[in-house]
Symmetry: D4
Subunit: 254 residues, 8 copies
């Protein structure tokens, strides 16, 4: 029941067209309808920011295309994550403006290129094997309206590569730091800047990396302040959270 429908109902009640009991019943059924109201609000605020994102893993190309098409009907932008080349081909067949980002395993659609909000998000990757996750974060932040700066292959084993770009890192609003193996990059970065650092462990590594557990634990135990962590390989989650913080900083969510 939308706000408008609710107002109509009340008018009809006052006009004696519906009984007191019927109105009560409509509103009592409402907890959800009304939470739906709140949800619609959320949806609207989300829609201002970005429509629903499609997580492709475990969905068939047909399913993904169907959902993508429905969203694309009413939205200017679209993001599909965790897809294969096959998914991408199927989407592009349906949506001509769709762009396939192979490394990031994403497809984006962007009809009108909207102006980016002020303040950049820097995405750091420790090694070249971390690029799929880092790119997923970068593509997510980009399509959500942020200026994104990529600094890749800046792992702590070659500290000078990181330090030589310190100015870029320090001038960003939010830092997304992606690393597998020993996962030390976010800790080092958090010690060098005074901005929110979102740490993304990756499953890059072998032996006792246990699928990214080593990097995850290292990041959770970081002695650097202002550092928060997302799930292993969750580039999208980091990009989304970074964008949300940046939008807040831009005064959009207040």
């Amino acid at each position: 029941m939308t706000s408008t429908e609710a107002l109509v109902l009340l008018d009809r009640f006052r006009a004696g067209q519906v009984s007191r009991k019927e109105v009560l019943h409509a509103f009592q059924a409402a907890p959800v309808a009304e939470l739906g109201f709140a949800k619609v609000d959320l949806h609207r605020s989300l829609r201002k920011g970005f429509p629903e994102v499609i997580f492709g893993e475990g969905k068939t190309p047909e399913q993904v295309v169907e959902i993508a098409a429905r969203i694309a009907e009413r939205d200017q932008r679209l993001l599909v994550t965790r897809i294969t080349k096959e998914h991408a081909r199927a989407i592009r067949k349906q949506l001509k403006q769709a762009i396939y980002h192979q490394t990031a395993r994403c497809v984006t659609v962007q009809r009108n290129h909207l102006p980016k909000r002020a303040g950049s998000i820097v995405v750091l990757a420790a090694g070249t094997s971390d690029l799929p996750v880092a790119e997923e974060a970068a593509i997510t932040a980009d399509i959500m309206g942020n200026q994104v700066e990529r600094l890749y292959d800046v792992g702590v084993a070659g500290l000078h590569r990181l330090l030589s770009r310190l100015d870029v890192i320090q001038s960003a609003h939010v830092i997304v730091a992606v690393a597998g193996m020993e996962g030390a990059l976010p800790s080092v970065v958090a010690g060098l800047v005074n901005k929110p650092v979102i740490a993304v462990p990756t499953s890059v590594g072998y032996g006792a990396s246990f699928g990214g557990l080593a990097a995850l634990l290292a990041m959770l135990n970081s002695c650097g302040s202002g550092l928060t962590v997302v799930n292993i390989n969750n580039g999208f989650g980091a990009g989304y959270a970074a964008s949300q913080i940046n939008a807040l900083a831009a005064g959009e969510l207040k």
Copy 2:
């Protein structure tokens, strides 16, 4: 070597008082001195925000008092975390304005009550046993200059208590959601708001909670967007990150 010292050195070089080689050497030795520059900058910016925080665990009362006294000499505010009643007593003997927050296991000193920045941080706790961690987050955010709203005992087992305060939660800038046991609270909250949610797992629970591991994993695997996670029981880390985001939103860190 500070900026001033560097300028003096260059003047002396132009005046022929030091050789070209000596100047080169001073700057070559500098990587650290110069990174120290940057560090000094960081320190200053940090000092504007907040001085070094003392982690009391594993330190004797004497050690804590000594560090606290030195910081209190030049700073208006002070935060000491993870302390016992004994530590608190020792600090208050030395620093008369010190306030002991028993539940939070913190001591704070605040000489001049500075105005709080705009935008509130909401701290949610799922159960009463999560209060020590939630309070640590709240005290941290408060002393760092934020308006803090506490909503406790709003776990998902009694969803209505959470939903009845939805307006307060939705109007905050940042949400810190503290939960032990199954750790579901942050996931539910992240689905209801469009603001950054910092999830703090606690070691509250028994049996297969494995010291908070259950809650930690639940939070890392949350399907709610915009949610990031800190270490088990790390209330301070959550409060610090929340404050940093809020300061960014207030335009302080740009």
Copy 3:
């Protein structure tokens, strides 16, 4: 040795057709034969409920067909779980009435459609990737004679979808709640209803979900009362337990 056979044996003994020693031997072999008695009782009560279920995983199509055929000889209904398309094809070749449920990875045979018992079982699934497990639970509960209501894609990230169907959930006898990722759905549901909730963790997720461990631990640590848990992905086990409770509620097992 069934009850009937035992009675015949005793008659023949009284008639002098078998010796005392032979009778003794028959019953001495009986610890098992006699437990077999009890077992036969169990079998009969089970048979009233449902015949042996075939777990297809790790069996060849030929093996499954052979066992299925033998059960189908004397039973009206049949359930085969955890099979591939290949298994299904082989079974259907032999048993014409067999129906293949692709998502649930099950085959069922139901000769005479028996009336369902009163009281429904609601099967909830948090996300679309949880459907194979949820459908396994639903098909199991259905073939065992229960009315089954399916509510899918009602995860806690979109709480309104769950709350809008609260009446359906609250009016059921038993709730099966299936979820991967952070596994929060059963906890939230257990807080909203006063009926047994059987929680089924799934291996849906990535990174630190560790094959469903995150969801499993979350469910075991739930602060919601009346919630019990089955193994990861064990849709059959949940459907079976739900049916058993519902049959008990229908007065069948007393």
Copy 4:
């Protein structure tokens, strides 16, 4: 907002005493108020069954007494779990009818001894060290209005002790099977009966029992049908779920 209040509001609206907008606002604010409605329903049905249970662990004797006193004001029965002798003494000082169950670490209050519902709950314990957990389950089921049968020290190492009481077990409505160490008891029982079995792993054991993990995993992996599991040492949860199933069987929750 209760149903009554809602009806009053609508009357006042029809009478022109409140505006259309005010009514809309009241109902829009309602999602929670109305969910509160549902919650009130839940509370009522719960109250018919049993009032809120106090989990004593991590609460001071004073806190427990205060909550207990408030519940005891309007309820005939009361259950406090996970307490020490100290808590018990404090409660009994305030509530004279309170009984302290030392092994179960519980206190119960029961003003009028209500008739028990038909159908018994059997609580099995594998070893004597499992008694605290088994007793917690038994006391919980008892105070919630069930006939409880205790069979202790019936672990699988001495199978005859279990089998000799098979008739008692088979005639129960629900079985709670408590075991530490290798946790095999519930699996064996589930193979012998056709009733819901709730398995409770305990932390009894040493070495590679890892605080009850061995028993927990064994129970989750049971090949016995109709078996569900609760958290390690969660006797209360098992007793509560068993009571809920038994109440359903008694037609109380339909």
Copy 5:
């Protein structure tokens, strides 16, 4: 129901003194009575070997004394494991012949010193910290009638100490090898002898020994043949199994 009782029953049935239904009922009730038969047999064979062993951990001194006294009434030998000095004192007050083995944390009673069976059991301990576990194994094997040879401090870090006693090890019937830390001793021994080796991991170690997990895994993964493993610190289990094998070798159990 014993065999004799069964024959009597059948005679009475043939004589018309009991009904067909009564006989059937007696045998149907029997599964357990008859398994009880088998159990009585087991008990007797066990009694020939050794009476029930009391596991002291988690029992009060009073409980231990009571059980010990009852066993001592009819048995020549007694073993109580995992006890404190307090338990020992209480037992010795009641049973004057009781001997307290402090390192092994055991008490034994042995009224008539029975002759030991042929063939020795060698108990090896890698380090001095493993002695409590090794002694528990040795005391157990000794009281059960075996000749026990102790070789302690023969860890693989000083291989020569082990090799210098190779003759003693090779001439034993069964070897119990106790080790914490890296748990390599049983692997090395199994490569040197052609007798059953029972490996006992201990919780001796620190850091990544994780309470004996490291040693346990090492022993389970041993590439030495003929090696089997018991639980961490389970000296009693190893001594018992070794004795059982030795008794089998002595022709006692055939």
Copy 6:
């Protein structure tokens, strides 16, 4: 250097044919040569029992054939474990008497059928999926000269099947009990017999079985006495240890 060679050397030294230094050197080189002695002894005693067993996993068919051929040159019997159909085909091409045991994934060669030693080894398997591991144990025990009795599909979920064969189990010398899932079979068996039980956990299961970890932990924590454990899926190890115990019981290894 053999004993004989050593005596010759000493004679030659006394005869002045070799220097003192040469003798010393020969014996100093000896620690290994002499340990080699012991090793030769071991080899001989092993050879009386059985020649080296080939572990096929990770070896090419060519490698396996080459080793097998060399052993078959001088030995009557041969065992190759963990092989594929391909390996088997290659071996049989070379060794005509070789028999391929498909379920056990083994090849055996046995030129002259030697008489079996007295006393049987019973191999129990809980479910049909456990057969590969159980058969590996059975084939190993058989080729090593033992009478082997197989009892399969006797899991604890259908206790009567196990109990009905109790006489066979109780009359064996050694019991090998193979089980996946909850791993309860060995615990139940150890409570019913007075013979060594070797427990073999298998990786059969899903979800929280974690590749056999659940069964392994259950077996290590068994409250049944006389039970020892081998690695997950290690049928060969169990068969070997059982044979060693049986040979000891037959007086062969004394």
Copy 7:
């Protein structure tokens, strides 16, 4: 900024061609440029020892060839690890001198055969399945200029094979000990020599080896002194560390 560039800048400043502020800025930007200085130093010293090593895993053959070609332009030697036959073929097409080491999964290029440094590195492997890891260590140590001695199949199950080569082991400068399964080899070796032992756990094993975790934990808990550990299967890391120690011993790194 190189040393030369810095000197030029200072000259231009003295000549008044750049301002004091410009110089300051250049050096302030320098931390990294200057750390780059240090890095160049490192590079040079590394280059004396060995150029950058290419980790092939997760790189396409094209990527590997491109990097290899660039390094081979200016360096005499090259090492590519963790590659497939396909990678090797692609490299050899481009670099004619490239040698493919199949077992080690490495390619090396060595234009001028440089003299080896004094002092050997011994690489031990417990079993034949450990060869890929052992060979990776050996090839790494060899190409980095060390004399390498290989002793394979010297696991602790056949101790005499290890002891018979003790002189070779004791005369080496550094020992690399590679083992899977129970990982006991390095512990035994560390007890026999007085040189640094680098332990390499491998993922060889099954069941409770958990991908090499068992061997890793065993090595970390070794009671042998002077033993350090690298990641599971990290043959390269062990070879590199051994070479570094040997170069230090040869006086190269002082």
Copy 8:
């Protein structure tokens, strides 16, 4: 049997004073005696370096004093690790020159201050809570004859403190890097130097540090070359290995 004793024996044999059989027997008993030879060699070389170190944990003060006294009789230096104040007091009562190092939990005795070998060992500690482990490493390296440089509180959260001492670190022979929490320090250091780095994880941390597991995994997965790892908190092991490498570099062990 020493070399000298062996020569005497052979002379006596040639002189007819002992029989051929006696000589043979002496050498046959020798495998160990002769390995003892090698062991004596090891002991001697060790003695030149350092006598046996006493691990105090799990030993009574009396036991430690007894062993310490015996070693001190014939050795100039002594090291006792992992002791309490109580142990220290007992040792100092007996050995007047003993020095108690409280932070390191060690006692050392050093009669004649021997000259230190060339080349220093640098011990780095990330935080002040890591000092006990770092000091154990430093004291061990010092008493074993090395120049030790301590750099404490140089964790990666404040990178400048580490970088400002880079010259000291780079000029050392071996680096011991001690860190808890996220354990990133050794990775960063290994990227900055070309010397062996021994990483020591500590149990410093809370929550998901899991007693040092996080730091341990981070170090094992380090992408820095030349880094090896010891057990959690194993300062002694790191100091010992560092000393061994330094002695090798000094030409002592060749």
